[in-house]
């Protein structure tokens, strides 16, 4: 049935979203999908609100020619975080901390990431972190205070953050999956929140069909995100595909992040989604971190993707 004015696509709703989401999104609406967002310097310097950092896909243990030293590039990423002009409130790691879920890989990652001084690091698992079968290697380290197979939520500065696990319940032939228990929990978790509450969603695999042929999506994302439709601003941060990709749909903005370890090809540009071989001198152009600056009220949220080469 044709609906001429879906609430999600109303002009008022779009303006509200833009006001909160900042110039980067405005740029997207006026000029198509950008490769990077506006610089965050001005917004961060304004004083109010806070900044957090997203890093992803460190794959500690990976040792292929494209990057034989993934610990070095993770260390560089940590140094970038520590050198940011505005101290972030926290860091989120959106999964694939390790390559093979080996205890020594988790230990190496923890040793490097503890150099992020004085601020918490929040994690969600990637499928490479659950190769032991029952997820205990991951949960023993990062599962404290979480529910189910490792999901949870927290609040900071008026923003509600949902940290989800869409990599623990795969079905043959399927994409990522949150599962009924987690979706039911999500529904309850946000039930008492005002629709003005900015929502940030973390999950390893994209929560939109970024490229289903390579498995880059989540089968039950539409149902889960349906419970967030009433919120004025929902920012979804994923990893998994080792490149920056974004999509804006109504009040939702979806963003995948660079890896700290190695790039993957753009959708459909290679026979499969394996590591993208790039010249050693160019590797750091493809790796990086993301800063997200949140301004309460009418202030902008600005996403800045920085490569390790910048």
């Amino acid at each position: 049935m044709f609906q001429p004015m879906d609430r999600r696509f109303s002009r008022r709703g779009a303006l509200k979203c833009l006001a909160w989401a900042g110039t980067g999104v405005l740029w997207t609406v006026s000029g198509g999908i950008p490769r990077s967002f506006a610089l965050d310097g001005a917004a961060a310097a304004a004083g109010a609100g806070f900044t957090f950092v997203q890093i992803s896909d460190s794959h500690i243990g990976f040792h292929k020619p494209v990057n034989p030293d993934v610990t070095a590039t993770l260390r560089e990423t940590v140094a970038r975080i520590n050198a940011l002009p505005v101290r972030p409130a926290f860091v989120v790691h959106t999964g694939d901390i390790t390559d093979f879920s080996k205890p020594e890989e988790f230990d190496t990652a923890a040793e490097i990431l503890k150099e992020i001084k004085g601020i918490p690091v929040h994690y969600v698992p990637g499928e490479h972190d659950l190769l032991d079968g029952d997820g205990q290697a991951y949960l023993a380290r990062y599962g404290k205070g979480t529910l189910g197979n490792g999901w949870y939520s927290f609040d900071h500065g008026g923003v509600h953050v949902l940290a989800l696990n869409n990599v623990a319940q795969f079905k043959p032939g399927g994409l990522g999956l949150l599962g009924d228990s987690q979706v039911a929990w999500l529904r309850e978790d946000v039930a008492g929140l005002s629709s003005e509450t900015p929502i940030v969603v973390l999950a390893h695999m994209p929560l939109w069909p970024a490229y289903a042929k390579w498995g880059w999506g989540t089968d039950d994302a539409v149902e889960a995100l349906g419970y967030l439709r009433r919120f004025g601003s929902v920012t979804v941060l994923n990893g998994h595909i080792h490149q920056v990709m974004q999509k804006i749909e109504g009040n939702f903005s979806f963003h995948t992040a660079r890896s700290t370890a190695f790039p993957q090809p753009e959708p459909g540009t290679a026979p499969g989604p394996g590591p993208l071989m790039v010249p050693a001198g160019a590797l750091r152009d493809y790796l990086g971190l993301r800063s997200v600056t949140v301004q309460p009220g009418d202030g902008p949220l600005a996403l800045t993707d920085r490569s390790l080469a910048s």
């Binding site: 494209v66 490479h128 498995g215």
Partner: protein
Amino acid sequence: MLINLNLDLRLKYTAVLAAAAFWTAAGMTPALAADADVVIDNFAFVPATVTIAAGEAVTWTNHDDTPHQVLASDKSFRSPGLDTGEHYRLVFAKPGTYGYYCSLHPYMVGTVIVH
């Protein structure tokens, strides 16, 4: 549709799997000429379907630059994470149809038919 089909298979063959015995160490069973090989290439099991006789083995070898892990659709067998060039050998003692997938990339699926 696919999921329903696999669910049916799972129900049908649970009893068979429960009674089956698996050996994974190469030295524990005699080498048989009819054993099947599956290579993992560009995020696909090739060939996607192999047919063997009861008591024969399937060997999966990872040719990709990324890890893969063979996991039975009903979770009755699971390889270790396979790095580039590593292989996993499994003897199927009982007749049946065994669906499997990659636990890291579930869109990669395959079938072992055991007569």
